[in-house]
Symmetry: C2
Subunit: 272 residues, 2 copies
């Protein structure tokens, strides 16, 4: 295990653990099925717990937490702040991907992380990928996100929304992955308390939003045609994650746990 | 169109065109369905023709040919021989991926290309990806490949087989993609005639082998369990092509035709 954490590391790690438990409980309650949990060890120090559900409403979902430390390899190091003199890092994070069975519900993605090198920062975000017209929900989702962001900094929403739009874009298809959300990295305003509260607010919002969204749509009937569109959209989801996603690439290049990294894959997908 | 081809360029381009027609005819005859063809233009000069089938035996398949020219961008250039003084290239190629409906048949991949910069060379290969124990066919496949290779150079088979094994390997899964085949690049012995004959022999072998393999297995009944394994194996196929395949990466990074590049995707895939 990773020992001798400082106060900030402890607080963040514990919050991610609490948030994981809140999310798991909410999803298990709605889905009437259980997560299975698998621990894995990191090649450096520490490790994580993969939580996986193949449920009634969530066809396939993962809620992963990890706390790891080690030294970045030379070619990764150049891309990471605060590693000029020392390649050591410590990181804790939570990552959630939910692929609901119903094509009326979007695929749902959330993650938060806290990284320490000689610098320290938060990163993360959330976005949703519907396979249908989701205009009404898009408006509500973004309005709620803006409210959370504005509490912390009036510039966050536009900035972090744009980051999300730019990041979750399939260049080779000239298509956005979904309807956006917020995304950010290297967040350190010098005020740890407020930065951490932003992370907590986002996490709490996510757990409530997901819960409400699933309840709203879970019992509405869908058609085979809607399912077909969802499966093709899931193909695009796979393309994004394997071609572009930095977390996936980073995980695979640094010898992370493959099952944990690829828990983001949908249960199935189609290509025309 | 790309004009003023030299004799070698013309011969190779014409052979790929002929091979495409042979393959299309054979597959259409067995499958009792038709390819649809779509032309596309390259961002430099030239373009290609995508041939696609969603058939009775071949659930999804593509046979693409292209002849293109242009100038490599700076960051690609450094990886390509013969571009030190001049970034111009000319290339012609054929690429085939077949995903049969039956889980008793493997996914089948073949490609050949001829590249000209200030140097010129052939590349290509073929490999098959079964989702079941395919030991008997594996032996026959490799024996036949060895026979073709040995006609041209006694070192080719072992060398090109190893290249294939090394290349079609999913490092993050510690799994080979399939049961191998042959793969090579930068082939130029100084004897264009023999090099080209090797390419022709491989192409002719492929068209006969595929035909015979499909006929052998097409009417044998399979189980739902075998289908399930095939869909999971197709997930691995997707992972390989999007995470590792150089042709896919190269195509996407150089703004190639996305539909033509991703015709290699299976019709569907699953992840546990």
């Amino acid at each position: 295990m990773v020992k001798n954490l400082n106060n900030e590391q402890k607080q963040v790690k514990n919050w991610f653990f609490d948030l994981r438990n809140i999310l798991v409980k909410k999803i298990e309650n709605i889905d009437k099925s259980k997560f299975t949990f698998t621990d894995w060890l990191h090649s450096g120090k520490g490790g994580g717990t993969m939580g996986k559900i193949n449920g009634n409403i969530i066809e396939k979902g993962g809620v992963n937490i990890s706390t790891v430390s080690g030294k970045f390899s030379e070619n990764i190091r150049s891309k990471i702040p605060g590693t000029e003199k020392n390649p050591s890092y410590w990181a804790t994070g939570i990552s959630v991907v939910l692929h609901p069975l119903s094509p009326l519900l979007p695929s749902i993605h959330f993650n938060s992380r806290y990284l320490n090198t000689e610098k320290s920062w938060f990163g993360g975000g959330m976005d949703i990928t519907p396979s249908n017209e989701f205009d009404k929900e898009k408006k509500v989702f973004h309005k709620k996100l803006k409210f959370i962001c504005d509490k912390h900094d009036p510039s966050y929403y536009l900035h972090h929304k744009k980051w999300c739009d730019d990041y979750f874009f399939l260049k080779h298809r000239n298509e956005p992955r979904g309807i956006g959300g917020i995304f950010f990295d290297h967040l350190n305003t010098g005020d740890f308390k407020n930065d951490f509260e932003y992370i907590i607010d986002i996490g709490n919002f996510f757990s409530t939003y997901v819960n409400d969204l699933i309840i709203k749509y879970k019992d509405i009937k869908w058609t085979e045609q809607q399912k077909e569109i969802q499966l093709l959209k899931r193909g695009r989801y796979v393309e994004f994650n394997l071609l572009y996603d930095r977390g996936t690439k980073f995980g695979i290049e640094t010898g992370g746990n493959t099952d944990a990294i690829l828990m983001s894959m949908p249960p199935n997908a189609k290509w025309k």
